[in-house]
Symmetry: C2
Subunit: 208 residues, 2 copies
DNA sequence: AGATTGTGAATGACCATTCATTCATTTTTT
DNA sequence: AAAAAATGAATGAATGGTCATTCACAATCT
């Protein structure tokens, strides 16, 4: 008993080491082609040890996903709190997504590929964190509508997904082409922001 | 050898029966959780027979995907040929995608879920048909830029993917929520079209 | 009859998961 | 404070179940 873990998010360091290993291996091979033994090796841990921290292979993926999404939402919320203009907030959402693509491509690869790959069984687990992330986007849009900045015939529930879909698909482009891409991440982020804002804005000529 | 098949696309009817069965089973369970034996049963064919028509399980998915994409592109090209206005062409692209979602949800489920699920190994197979589909979208955007209808700082190569990503993600919403959705497919198609056109259009107030 | 097409039981590779065992560390006893 | 006992985290070899794939045989054509 005793130490309930000190450093990280409450769960002990071996737990997090395994998650980090899983992130790498899953991003590399996809969930179904990743062997638990590989993850164990990457984490410098015996095969069996993994089962002290996770119920089974699926549980690793789910935990990984939830953990990372929690972080993402956290960072996002903090960044948004420092920005006033709604348009700039939306730009920040997009910029963050693509900044992550640069700083932690494995994470984006997990979101982009594994989220779908496991959607079928994630359905059961409801995937609460992902919902929260979409929620943040939806709230921004709602706010914009209320302020009259965004057109009244925009559905936040739809457009939050449209936005995620765009970012996700374009991330995939980068992830798969392994950086040998003719677009720079900065330009992409910029172009997407302006496109999205124009699409929803009440009067595009008034876009700050 | 002998008969190269008469009725359908060149390949013989058992071939197509297996593909149809695979479409259903894959949509139902996802690629990795679908058993070859299930597909055989659904197609009223012996397990071994499948291997007379396909090299292996992966080959079934790839063939299915290529075959269906070919159809989709075909229909799309024909529809576009009957339309003059560029804006209406883009609307037609979106409408077709969502019409399919209604008429052949299994197909959209395959595109939406399995495309990602198998991206890793589809990379090797280059996925020619999917590229062609994107190509069609890209050409439309290019055309619009040349005509000055679309803003000059829009990148067709990027926006074709953004468009696909949007449609794909929102299809996923429908596929997963199994129709119990508060949005109607028609409204979604309509709202997305207007959003997308405004996003890229040179002067949104001049949108036909 | 020879060729082609189809069958489905049998095979064997693969891999998630288990569990008997080890051993460092902590607790209790003397 | 040293010795003895208890603990439970960690290990990794062994297990067992699951399928994709094969192939010897059968049916059907030409």
């Amino acid at each position: 008993m005793a130490k309930v873990a000190a450093n990280n998010g409450e769960k002990g360091e071996k737990y997090h080491r395994i998650l980090a290993a899983a992130q790498k291996i899953f991003a590399q091979n996809g969930f179904h082609n990743s062997k638990v033994a590989q993850i164990a090796k990457e984490a410098n841990v015996a095969d069996g040890t993994i089962y002290l921290y996770f119920h089974n292979k699926d549980d690793i993926l789910i935990s990984l996903f939830e953990d990372r999404m929690r972080m993402l939402i956290d960072v996002l919320r903090k960044e948004l709190a420092t920005i006033d203009s709604l348009a700039d907030k939306i730009r920040a959402v997009i910029r963050l997504h693509f900044r992550l693509l640069r700083e932690d491509p494995d994470l984006i690869e997990i979101i982009t590929i594994e989220l779908r790959q496991s959607t079928m069984f994630m359905k059961e687990y409801q995937n609460q964190q992902f919902r929260s992330y979409l929620q943040v986007l939806g709230d921004l849009l709602k706010e914009g509508k209320d302020q009259g900045l965004i057109r009244q015939d925009v559905s936040p529930g739809l457009m939050k997904r449209a936005l995620f879909g765009m970012m996700d698909e374009i991330s995939l482009l980068f992830v798969l082409s392994h950086k040998q891409n003719k677009y720079s991440i900065e330009n992409v982020s910029e172009e997407l922001s302006e496109f999205f804002l124009r699409g929803i804005w009440h009067d595009a000529s008034e876009l700050p």
